[in-house]
């Protein structure tokens, strides 16, 4: 067995096995538990990274297991898109887990947190690396259900309520996906992702299946009006879990939509049936409402959660325009938002960890006490607003150009409006924390100090990525996004 050939499978299977291993060793040694939890995403990252040269050389990697679950079978594949998203997932997951070893030290039930975080990783990577709809669905459910344990970690009544809402909507989404997948199987007799799609025409059942996909992935991605669980579930989770939920797991929803639009239906069928209009309307509503409601939130984690809703709208916009440039923006934004939102959640979590203050209005003058954390927060927030040269600017730029290519001026205005709203809700935070000393409370002695290294390092690393990825094009992220978008528009009939 060639290890390299199996590496995408191993990238999923290793976290899955480590889930069991962690569960067995955690009572004996918490050090080993933490080490294994950190090792899992690192191993997956490496196992994916070794595929980079082959993928870049244009090889498509496909590993099939037809014997599992007939008549559908299982398969794993790596192409540009799944490599990019998979590396983002594993990389961010690694940093967040490093952070959580320190952050969670004070928390209860760590023996539950780490195994389930690892299991969720296996599910998330499975979604990204699956070669067909059915495998994707299998891991999608694994991810969603094990993430429930992370959502309700605090076990407070609010957490249980939010968790229940999350769970019910997850099940509804899962069933919608299930229906859509079997409908597609009924129509086409296959569920394997194909360049240019395999659904030949938008028959009634096909359109119904599309709505099923939209419902299933839309709930996960937090598309308005299916987002209702998100602003409740993301804030109640412990901060590292919030970072994973908002930064990573939301992306599986849009990732699924990209696959459905381009590799199941194909952009032609979607456009002929007018389904792109629905995507665009949803995107516009999501961008506008997500950003607008975020302004009204005082709880920092709720503000960040609503901001995520708005940002998912960007990606949906990039998909719905059915236009290569816009799709580049969408794919790049998967990467950009994962990094930005994780940085924001981790640094906000760090502040809550140190000061216990969840409300933005209480965050005065923290920049003096925790300069590095606050600078990272600021960098990520500026990037969210779309200031060059941060990564957030790049995705907005591509999206705006894509909208122009598609001849839709309105969306450019919407993007600008959303940037303005981002500014409105991020800037006061930056201002009061970095320059809030004048407002009088500075004399009160504060106990907040800079963070321990295990928490600080991941935040700084991600902040550096935000600033420098775009300055060094040879890092290849944008290139990968471009190739991914090109490959998705490639039609082989």
């Amino acid at each position: 067995m060639n290890l390299l050939l199996q590496s995408p499978v191993l990238a999923v299977v290793i976290p899955l096995l480590l889930f069991v291993v962690i569960y067995m060793v955690e009572r004996r040694s918490w050090r080993l538990r933490n080490a294994l939890a950190v090792l899992a995403p690192l191993a997956s990252f490496v196992l994916l990274a070794v595929n980079y040269p082959r993928v870049l050389a244009g090889e498509s990697i496909l590993v099939e297991f037809p014997a599992i679950l007939p008549p559908l079978g299982m398969s794993f594949s790596v192409d540009y898109l799944s490599l990019l998203v998979g590396l983002v997932v594993a990389g961010v997951w690694f940093l967040v887990t490093v952070y959580s070893t320190e952050y969670m030290a004070k928390e209860h039930a760590k023996n539950r947190y780490y195994p389930f975080a690892t299991l969720t990783l296996a599910g998330t990577l499975g979604v990204v690396l699956s070669g067909d709809l059915f495998t994707l669905f299998l891991f999608f459910e694994l991810m969603s259900l094990s993430a429930y344990v992370l959502v309700v970690h605090e076990e407070t009544p609010e957490a249980m309520r939010a968790g229940y809402k999350y769970l019910v909507l997850t099940i509804i989404g899962g069933l919608a996906l299930f229906f859509a997948i079997i409908a597609v199987f009924e129509i086409a007799g296959t569920v394997s992702f194909t360049a240019g799609g395999f659904v030949a025409e938008a028959s009634g059942l096909a359109v119904l299946a599309f709505y099923g996909f939209l419902l299933g992935f839309g709930i996960k991605a937090g598309i308005v009006p299916l987002h209702v669980w998100l602003p409740e579930a993301h804030p109640v989770a412990p901060s590292p879990a919030s970072a994973l939920l908002s930064g990573i797991m939301l992306k599986t929803g849009v990732y699924g939509l990209i696959r459905v639009v381009f590799n199941v239906f194909g952009s032609e069928v979607i456009r002929d049936a007018g389904l792109d209009t629905i995507l665009l309307i949803l995107a516009a509503v999501t961008i506008f409402l997500g950003s607008a409601v975020a302004i009204a939130q005082d709880d920092i984690k709720r503000r960040l959660a609503y901001s995520s809703v708005g940002q998912m709208g960007y990606i949906l916009l990039g998909i719905g325009l059915l236009q290569e440039r816009a799709l580049i923006g969408a794919i790049f934004h998967i990467f950009a938002h994962a990094i930005m939102k994780s940085t924001l959640f981790l640094s906000a979590g760090a502040i809550i960890y140190k000061t216990g203050k969840r409300r933005v209005s209480e965050w005065r003058n923290l920049g003096r006490e925790m300069p590095l954390t606050m600078v990272s927060f600021t960098v990520a927030a500026l990037s969210m607003i779309g200031i060059p040269p941060m990564v957030g600017f790049v995705s907005k730029w591509e999206l705006a150009l894509g909208s122009l290519d598609a001849g839709s001026w309105g969306f450019v205005l919407l993007l600008l409006l959303s940037s303005l709203m981002n500014f409105i809700y991020y800037f006061p935070v930056i201002q009061s924390t970095l320059f809030g000393a004048q407002h009088g409370t500075s004399d009160s002695p504060s106990k907040a100090r800079e963070l321990p290294l295990a928490m600080l390092a991941p935040i700084i690393v991600m902040a550096l990525v935000i600033v420098f990825v775009d300055l060094f094009p040879q890092s290849g992220v944008l290139d990968l996004a471009k190739r991914a978008a090109q490959a998705l528009f490639l039609v082989v009939k």
């Binding site: 679950l69 007939p70 099940i171 299930f178 009924e186 119904l208």
Partner: protein, 488 residues
């Protein structure tokens, strides 16, 4: 000397004989238990042999005592019979093990084993009988034994429940007998094979008689397999029975009557009748109502065993739905579900029985944080519940997949949606059970896990759920052959 041809009849005879011998060993109960378990094991081996023989060389016909039909008694072991018999024998063996080693809930141990053995013999008899009258006799034995294994618990509720079950079941038997009599009147035959031949020429002359006969059979088997609205006896009966009996009744007995109905339908009448008469429509509607009503009632239950019982009503609906959709994949789904529901529901009833015995708590609202005290048992319950909801990777997903695909094949997407709605409902009633058990205040520090021998059946069933969830290919040929028998 031993030929595999004798295996089917040996299964029935051994179980019957053991049913009479075990009570004689009441003074030497250790010996009785060994006999009980070893008969169960031998039956599993025999049904395995039968299954391989059927897969290899097609339907086996065994003339009991060497007297061929139409006058002698025949066992007709086709793929469906072999499959059913295999499911019954394996699941029963697991339940036997549990009943022997779990803490005793029944006073008369030997008598209880005897009843269980008789019930098993009757179930094997039902699925293998070649003539309709023997089928009826076995149905009667199993009905009475089923009533008795509820009543043996001896509590007021269980006796009341078993009495109600007895009344309704007797009504069902009456309907069944009347249906059989009408068929006999039309054809002059009792052997199902000869009946089919006779019916192929005479059916046209007696459409009304046939319709009436079928109507009575639907009612008869509908009562016994708890098809809505004839399910009213089931929740009380299954919830108040001893743990092992609940598992047997919910896991196997209700399904055996569905199998019997299907066998009569395809062996004597042919499935065309489903289309000529409005039978298919009627069954589809009743099955859908079963699914919805069972799920909705289950949601409002606080008593865990009643919840499981109502869930059985819904799951029986799935099986009827699959059979009456009559596309190949839907029928395959129904056949899968016979096995898979048997695994899941047996697991759930056994595990919940363990929980009730160890903690004394019978209600969802009481089990806060109990999973921390009984991690293994609750892991099994969680797996069973996930499988009931149909989460991919568990066995429950397989049958749902086939059923939903079958519904689409039939061009009836509405039934695929129904299956999804029902999955959502089952999530709504199963998840609170799990969530309550894992989270919340730990109110019961002195509750412990049962011994390893009691946990063994739970472990075996849990592994089966995972195994069939991912690798169902092992049984696929058998399921496919059975589906072909019905849909050809």
């Amino acid at each position: 000397m031993f030929s595999v041809n004798h295996a089917p009849v040996l299964i029935v005879v051994m179980l019957l004989a053991a049913g009479f011998i075990v009570p004689l060993l009441r003074k030497k109960m250790a010996l009785g238990r060994i006999l009980f378990l070893s008969v169960g094991l031998v039956v599993v081996i025999l049904s395995l042999l039968t299954t391989f023989a059927v897969l290899e060389s097609g339907t086996m016909v065994y003339a009991v005592g060497g007297w061929p039909a139409p006058h002698g008694i025949e066992l007709v072991v086709d793929a469906f019979a072999a499959y059913s018999s295999l499911v019954i024998s394996v699941i029963s063996l697991i339940i036997y093990w549990f009943v022997v080693f779990a803490p005793r809930e029944v006073k008369h141990e030997a008598g209880y084993y005897a009843l269980i053995l008789l019930l098993s013999a009757a179930m094997h008899g039902i699925v293998m009988a070649g003539d309709i009258f023997n089928l009826f006799v076995f149905v009667e034995i199993s009905s009475l034994a089923a009533v008795a294994i509820i009543a043996v618990k001896g509590t007021k509720e269980s006796i009341e429940a078993s009495f109600r079950y007895l009344m309704l079941s007797a009504l069902g038997s009456g309907g069944l007998l009347f249906g059989i009599a009408l068929l006999f009147m039309i054809t002059g035959q009792l052997s199902m094979e000869y009946m089919r031949v006779a019916l192929s020429t005479t059916a046209g002359q007696y459409p009304l008689n046939l319709l009436t006969a079928l109507g009575f059979m639907v009612i008869g088997f509908g009562v016994k397999s708890a098809l809505f609205p004839l399910h009213i006896w089931l929740p009380d009966a299954h919830a108040n029975a001893p743990t092992g009996s609940s598992a047997l009744l919910s896991g196997l007995v209700v399904k055996v009557y569905i199998i019997a109905f299907m066998r009569i339908a395809y062996m004597t009448l042919g499935m065309d009748l489903f289309y000529i008469l409005p039978l298919r429509q009627i069954l589809l509607v009743l099955a859908s109502l079963s699914i919805l009503a069972g799920s909705v009632f289950a949601i409002v239950q606080d008593n865990i065993k009643r919840l499981l019982a109502f869930s059985t009503v819904a799951q029986v609906g799935y099986i009827f739905l699959g059979f009456s959709l009559l596309t190949e994949r839907a029928v395959e789904g129904a056949i899968w579900h016979i096995l898979i529901h048997a695994i899941m529901k047996t697991l759930l009833f056994l595990a919940v029985g363990v929980v009730i015995h160890q903690s004394g708590y019978k209600k969802i609202s009481q089990i806060h944080g109990l999973a921390r005290r009984m991690p293994w048992t609750f892991a099994a319950i969680t797996l069973g519940a996930l499988s009931m909801v149909g989460i991919p990777g568990t066995a429950g997903f397989i049958s749902k997949l086939y059923l939903a695909l079958g519904a689409l094949d039939a061009g009836q997407a509405i039934f695929a949606v129904l299956i999804l709605v029902s999955s959502l409902l089952s999530a709504i009633y199963y998840f609170p059970l799990i969530i309550t058990a894992y989270f919340g205040h730990d109110a019961s520090p002195d509750v412990k896990e049962p011994s390893l021998v009691v946990r063994l059946p739970l472990a075996v069933l849990s592994l089966a759920i995972l195994f069939y969830g991912l690798m169902p290919s092992m049984l696929l040929p058998l399921v496919r052959q059975t589906a072909l028998l019905i849909t050809r």
